[in-house]
């Protein structure tokens, strides 16, 4: 599904990612853990196609295609989804209109007929229930006046509607209390499936108690320093990033 090979990325001339190698198969959930400033969000943005990131070396293959050559909307149409750490508010554009436009753009790319308003409302209601997003919020403008938790639920709601092949979730747990975290995690878990891969980016192990990964990578200073199973996350929680990094260097 996704193959990252020796990826080097700079921002404003400063190296952030320094040779990332990562492969994710369909059906797998990988977690990337790392301290602040390790390059986690940069990786997420580079995968989604945000401007301002210079790939100086390496490549990314997504479903066998060169991902880095594709426009952001093309990546989304091909089934890539980024759950934003800080979803932006868009006053004047209703959530439901935006999502319908997004879904129909993706469907068009797949050669499917657009959903009409009635079918879309049905789908939207069903998916909103998954993350307990109140009906009222689906009709408001995109993230406008939403609380931190509501924004994150809105991200997972969008993911549920768009049904991506690869979901990159950037610190979906940040700013959530434990109840909201459980709701969001349940939403994510319900979307796990043999055809879908996920890359869960987080600072804390807590999220991984609820979204249990197949593989855990530790990202420090732009490089993956350790890879292991879910127990690696627990070890990190006990020992901290410094020890893991130290052990690596021995």
């Amino acid at each position: 599904m996704l193959k990252i090979e020796d990826l080097h990325v700079e921002v404003d001339g400063k190296p952030i990612l320094k040779g990332i190698n990562l492969e994710i198969e369909a059906g797998q959930v990988h977690a990337i853990m790392g301290p602040n400033g390790s390059g986690k969000s940069t990786l997420a943005y580079v995968l989604a196609g945000r401007e301002g990131y210079d790939v100086t070396k390496g490549r990314v293959l997504y479903k066998g295609q060169d991902l880095l050559e594709m426009a952001p909307e093309m990546r989304a149409a091909e089934g890539l989804f980024l759950g934003f750490q800080y979803p932006v508010a868009i006053p004047g554009v209703s959530n439901i209109y935006f999502l319908k436009a997004a879904l129909n753009a993706v469907r068009k790319h797949r050669g499917e007929e657009p959903l009409d308003a009635i079918d879309f409302m049905k789908l939207s209601k069903e998916k909103a229930a998954l993350v307990q997003l109140p009906d009222e919020l689906t009709k408001r403008c995109v993230n406008d006046g939403f609380s931190g938790g509501e924004k994150k639920r809105n991200e997972i709601f969008q993911m549920a509607v768009l049904e991506p092949s690869l979901a990159v979730l950037d610190e979906t747990d940040s700013g959530l209390d434990i109840d909201a975290l459980k709701v969001v995690a349940e939403g994510v878990n319900s979307l796990r499936g043999p055809e879908r891969a996920m890359l869960v980016i987080t600072h804390y192990q807590r999220l991984l108690d609820y979204i249990v990964p197949d593989t855990v990578h530790v990202l420090i200073d732009g490089q993956i320093v350790r890879t292991g199973d879910k127990d690696l996350a627990k070890q990190l929680e006990r020992e901290g990033y410094a020890d893991v990094q130290g052990a690596q260097q021995l």
């Binding site: 989304a76 149409a77 004047g92």
Partner: protein, 405 residues
């Protein structure tokens, strides 16, 4: 070949005013004297620096006689809508002390004061809430003559009265000039919602002058969709303690449009609030001007005043001049102002694209949303819907984004 009935604007001022009640003759005389002394604005006139009107000042126009706006709605119970001409003939004492623009008619407003021949007086007596809106349509004659019209509207609300007024200034030929004045007098705790739409304005100069009593509220939403040369001034005098005004505007210009909005809010009493939000989109070779002044007088303590002007420039050849400013003589006040001229928010654009929305569609959605947040403040649903439609018609890819919100 010259048309004998045509005159320049200043040349059309009579030497003396011989009809109407004495106070009106005096008022017109003062306005005419002031005009002869100061003339009409030139490019050296500070408030007209970015809006050249020489072509208007030098041009000859024939006078449009039928310049009163048409009433296109029912009149709510208890509200009186009367012809100014008729009241001035039959009961002129009712209007004595009105129609003087707070004592300071200048430039085009002075010209209107000297020359208007008819108009409407909308009177909402104390305690009357006009539930349904009053709608006025201004359209000058479709004759091919280069004409000038001087529409005049007086709105008076007694204590605790309420009114929604919708005015539409529809397009005339590019060479036809509309020079309008609307005066509003709000009694204690009166509430007025005023929507003003300029669509395809040709040559338009307009002034709205509002005087507000204690605890009164004035909400204005101005939507300007194109205009060959449009200048529109709103002045709010917050004269009574606790009065508030909200001035919102949206403008969309293209081609060689020139659209100029000026606002002046004077906080003359304490505990008053004012908020202004103007947003515009400039494309083509259009020029947009925004100039907003908030004056806080020395005794106007506990004033709250906010002012914001945001502009989207969609082409390299469009121009925006914006100048919000505050003059504060009181010390216990909360004031803010801000201005932006730029392009679409890159973060919003990326968010839409990252969900699969093609770039040009994302552009259209955000451009529309930028003005729609102002249009949504139009208090009258049918007008609001019509404005949304008009925006969509004018924006690139508007057809693709119907139902955006």
């Amino acid at each position: 070949m010259t048309n004998p009935s045509r005159q320049t604007l200043l040349g059309s001022l009579p030497a003396s005013f011989d009809s109407g009640p004495e106070w009106l003759r005096a008022l017109r005389g003062r306005a005419a004297d002031a005009l002869r002394e100061q003339g009409l604005p030139t490019k050296r006139t500070e408030a007209w620096r970015f809006t050249p009107v020489r072509s208007v000042v030098d041009a000859e126009f024939s006078r449009e006689e039928e310049s009163a706006p048409s009433l296109v709605s029912a009149v709510p119970e208890g509200v009186a809508v009367r012809s100014l001409r008729q009241v001035l003939q039959a009961e002129p004492e009712l209007l004595a002390g009105r129609l003087d623009l707070g004592g300071a008619p200048t430039h085009f407003a002075a010209l209107n004061t000297a020359l208007f021949s008819d108009g409407l007086w909308i009177d909402v007596p104390a305690g009357t809430a006009g539930e349904a809106p009053i709608e006025l349509a201004h359209a000058i004659s479709t004759s091919s003559e280069r004409g000038v019209a001087y529409p005049r509207v007086l709105v008076t609300l007694g204590d605790n009265a309420e009114l929604t007024l919708i005015e539409t200034y529809a397009g005339g030929e590019a060479e036809q000039l509309t020079n309008s004045v609307v005066e509003v007098d709000l009694g204690r705790n009166a509430k007025m919602s005023h929507v003003r739409v300029h669509e395809n304005a040709g040559l338009q100069v307009g002034r709205v002058d509002v005087r507000q009593g204690a605890d009164s509220s004035y909400r204005s939403t101005v939507v300007t969709l194109g205009g060959a040369l449009l200048r529109f001034d709103v002045r709010c005098l917050l004269q009574g303690k606790g009065a508030e005004c909200q001035l919102d505007g949206a403008y969309l210009i293209d081609g060689e449009d020139h659209v100029d909005h000026h606002t002046l809010v004077e906080h003359q009493a304490s505990h008053c609030r004012s908020a202004q939000t103007y947003r515009g989109i400039a494309s083509g070779k259009g020029t947009a001007v925004f100039d907003g002044i908030v004056v806080v007088h020395r005794d106007a303590q506990k004033t709250e005043a906010h002012q914001e002007n945001r502009n989207l420039l969609l082409s390299d050849t469009a121009t925006v001049h914006t100048k919000p400013h505050l003059e504060i003589d009181a010390d216990d006040v909360v004031c803010s102002h801000g201005v932006t001229v730029g392009s679409l928010d890159q973060e919003q654009l990326f968010y839409l694209r990252a969900r699969g929305i093609p770039e040009d569609l994302a552009h259209s959605m955000l451009t529309y949303a930028f003005l729609k947040t102002i249009v949504d403040r139009v208090s009258h649903e049918p007008t609001r819907a019509r404005m949304r439609e008009a925006l969509l018609t004018r924006l690139p890819h508007g057809d693709d984004i119907e139902g955006v919100a």
